[in-house]
Every structure is written in C-alpha cells, then in structure tokens.
C-alpha cells in the first residue's frame, strides 16, 4: 500500500520549493536592506532562523513517528522517524555552521557558548546519538523500538534543556564585552520581515520535499528487504 506522496505531487512540491528558494535568495540577498548595526552579515539570519525552526520541526516529527511506532508498530511510522532524524541532523548542523559564520563578523569570534548555539549543538548531539543508536543495533525491530524510545525521551527533554541552558547563560553572564544574546530583532525593516518569511516557507517546503523523497526511499528499502526474504535469498 502506498502511503507516500505520489510521484507527481512530489514533483510539484519540489518545483514550488525551488521557486520559493529562488525568490527567497533574491529577497534576502538583494532586495532587503542591510542591517543598521550588523551590515550585510545580518542576511545570514535569513538562513539561520528558518534552519533552526526546520530542525525543531524535524525533531517534532521524530517524536510523532516514535510515538506512533510504539503504539501501532507499523513500519512506516518508523520510516518517518528515521527520515526526519536524518534530515534533521543536516539542518541542525547547517544551523550551527550558519550561526558560527554569522558570529565572526558580528561578535568577532567563530564560536561562543551563548544559549542559542549551545542549544543547537546539544540538539545535534541528540540527533546524532539517535542515528548511531539505530545503526549499532543489528536487529531491525529492536533498533526501531530503541530509537523510538530515545526519540520520545529526547523530545520531552528538550524544553528542560532549553530552560536550563537559558537560565545558565542569563543568570551567569560572563564578564565579556560581547553581548551574544542581542537579538537581530531591533530595527526590523518590513522588507527584512518579508525576506525572512519567504525564506522560512522556502525552507519548510524544501524540507518536506526532501522528507517525502527520503520517506519513499525508506519504503522502497523495506520492500526490497521483504521481497528478498520471501525469495529466500
């Protein structure tokens, strides 16, 4: 039974994503004005904010897939969780890279242990742990349940991790001249807001396009496995 996005609709999704990506690139790089304080480096935010939001969306889907899998034990929920985790790792890693590159012209350093970057790094570690857990357990169904449990625990832990890291960074502000938590929300020009919105939707659509591809791949891999077993190979 085909539960995935059919090939045509996937194609439209991809095309729509591409259009929005191009529009977003134009709006973000050319149309929107540079920031009063950060200059053109602020344009990196058009990547950074959509990336992190997409990463969290991914984790949420891992959670949903994990819950459904533990409840109904249907393979496709496991495939959803696995696919979302794989793409989630990518977007999380990109978020960190973007944040780091943004940090260099803005704060003068490639890395700082501010709340945002630290949290994203922890999220990456959790995702990576999830993928490692899957690959290190031999038996398929055991790997799926193990990963599902980790996915649920991880997701429930994230609000707590958030709170603890933010408190840590705000209650114990190190005596430095850098103000890492100064958000780029000051002086937000309407064109900037539009650029952000367009890029956000571009990322989300692109994410779902990649997810649908990856999901279908997962289904095919599963089918191949079952067929091979049936044929006694």
């Amino acid at each position: 039974m085909q539960t995935t996005v059919p090939k045509n609709r996937r194609g439209y999704l991809g095309a729509l994503a591409l259009i929005l990506v191009i529009v977003g690139l134009y709006w973000g790089l050319i149309h929107a004005p540079p920031d009063a304080y950060q200059g053109n480096a602020q344009r990196i935010m058009y990547l950074h904010i959509p990336s992190i939001l997409t990463a969290y969306l991914s984790f949420f889907l891992v959670f949903v897939g994990s819950c459904l899998y533990l409840w109904k034990r249907e393979k496709r929920d496991d495939i959803l969780a696995y696919s979302a985790a794989e793409i989630g790792v990518l977007f999380t890693a990109l978020t960190i890279v973007e944040g780091s590159i943004w940090g260099k012209p803005t704060w003068g350093v490639w890395w700082t242990w501010d709340a945002r970057l630290t949290l994203t790094a922890i999220l990456l570690l959790i995702f990576v742990g999830y993928l490692m857990l899957r690959s290190l357990i031999e038996e398929e169904s055991r790997a799926a349940s193990a990963a599902a449990i980790l996915g649920i625990i991880g997701f429930l832990d994230i609000p707590l991790i958030h709170m603890s890291v933010y408190w840590w960074r705000t209650l114990h502000q190190p005596p430095s001249i850098l103000r890492p938590d100064k958000a780029p929300w000051d002086n937000i020009h309407p064109a900037m807001l539009t650029a952000l919105a367009i890029n956000f939707f571009a990322f989300v659509l692109l994410y779902f396009y990649l997810l649908s591809l990856r999901f279908r791949l997962g289904e095919m891999t599963e089918e191949i496995k079952t067929r091979r077993m049936d044929r006694g190979r």
């Binding site: 533990l70 922890i122 570690l125 959790i126 742990g129 999830y130 490692m132 857990l133 290190l136 357990i137 031999e138 038996e139 169904s141 055991r142 349940s145 193990a146 599902a148 449990i149 980790l150 649920i152 625990i153 991880g154 429930l156 832990d157 707590l160 991790i161 709170m163 603890s164 890291v165 408190w167 840590w168």
Partner: protein, 225 residues
C-alpha cells in the same frame, strides 16, 4: 501496591547479589576515588580554586562512576536468558524499571557518601557545614541520572559498542541535571543553603518526576529487549 512489592522483590534480589560479590560497588568506588586523584593532577587544585570547582569536579566524578554502574546494570540478567524470563513473567515491567533504577541509585549514593567526605579531607576543605545538604542535592541529581540511564541501558542492551553508545546518547540528555545539580551545590557551598538556586532545585525535581513517570510507562509499554 503490587508494583511496589514487585519492585521491592527485584531490588532485594539485586542487592543480595551485589552484597555477596560486591563487583559493581567496589569498582565504582575505586573509580570515583581514582578520578579525584586524576582531577588533582589535571587541574592543579590549589585551595583557593577548590571550593569553586568542588561541585563540578564531584558531579563529574559521579557521572562517570554512575555510567560505569549503568553498563553493568543488566549484567546479572544477561546470561541464561534471565531477562527474557523476567519479561515473559506476569511481572509488571514498570517494576523491573523501578528496581533497576533504585539499584543504581543505591550504588551511586553509597559511592557519594564516601567520596564527598574523602574529597573534603583530600583537598583540605575547611567548612563541613554544607555537606549534608550537598549530599541531598546530589541525591536528587543521582535520581535523574539513574532514571534516564536505566531506560537507555535497557534499550541499548543488544547494541554494538554499548559502553560507548550509552554515554553518547545519555550525556546530552543529562544537561538539565548537570546544570541544576552543580548550580545548587555551588549555592550551598557559597551560602550554606540553596538561596537563589531554588529555581534550579525545582527544575531538578521536575526532571526527576517527569522521567520516573515516563520511564515506568515506557518500560511497561515499549521495551522489547
């Protein structure tokens, strides 16, 4: 309550086994002490620095020692398909989770009760008045660590590179416990009581409550080791 009674029975079994052979307890204790020595050499701990760094060093030592205990947690059940037998029995699986968690908590607390005074002696810390409260906070942190640790230990039983995988997946999830416990301990050493670290204490308690509940539910429902 049936759950508690079953938990007690399983826990008693593990404690009796442990008291007879003392494998886990001794290794954990010596490892914890060894870490203190390593810290002394690595950080060149002068008296001024020690009070500042004590909470972090202690908690780090407990984390690594606890991880040691976790990898051995289901050791007794590994041979002769004991674990399968336990899971097949009409026993409430949540009881197995609670029993294993309590067992690890007891081991870690036993180590902590010895290592903390040892730390005080070895590093010539003057005032002993915060120590009981410190141990209390460490106890709460230990609960959080053991709850998640037991869950993940059960889940990774059949994984390859298990001793490496378990810390890898556990430690990022432990961030709230690490931060909260150390901040509370710092406040205790600074002021003699919790003081302004109360939010951290609440976070720690919340963590413990949430994951004990989640742990029981998941073990009951989802574990198929």
């Amino acid at each position: 309550m049936k759950l508690l009674r079953q938990t007690y029975l399983l826990l008693r079994k593990d404690l009796v086994l442990e008291l007879r052979r003392r494998e886990s307890l001794l290794t954990m204790f010596f490892f914890g002490t060894l870490l203190l020595f390593v810290f002394h050499f690595s950080f060149d701990l002068v008296p001024e620095k020690v009070t500042e760094m004590a909470p972090a060093l202690l908690w780090l030592a407990f984390l690594f020692t606890g991880t040691l205990g976790l990898t051995q947690l289901f050791e007794a059940e590994r041979t002769n398909h004991c674990l399968d037998a336990l899971l097949l029995s009409p026993m409430d699986r949540g009881a197995l989770f609670l029993a294993k968690t309590c067992f690890n908590i007891i081991l870690m607390v036993a180590v902590e009760i010895v290592v903390v005074p040892l730390f005080w002696i070895l590093f010539n810390l003057r005032s002993w008045e915060g120590v009981p409260l410190l141990l209390g906070v460490a106890f709460l942190g230990t609960i959080g660590f053991c709850v998640l640790g037991t869950l993940l230990s059960g889940v990774t039983l059949k994984a390859r590179a298990r001793e490496l995988l378990l810390p890898l997946v556990l430690f990022p999830l432990m961030v709230p416990v690490i931060l909260a416990t150390i901040r509370c301990m710092e406040a205790i050493l600074r002021n003699g009581n919790i003081g302004d670290a109360v939010p951290w204490l609440r976070l720690l308690l919340g963590f413990d409550v949430i994951f004990v509940t989640v742990g029981i539910l998941i073990f009951d429902w989802a574990i198929d080791v």
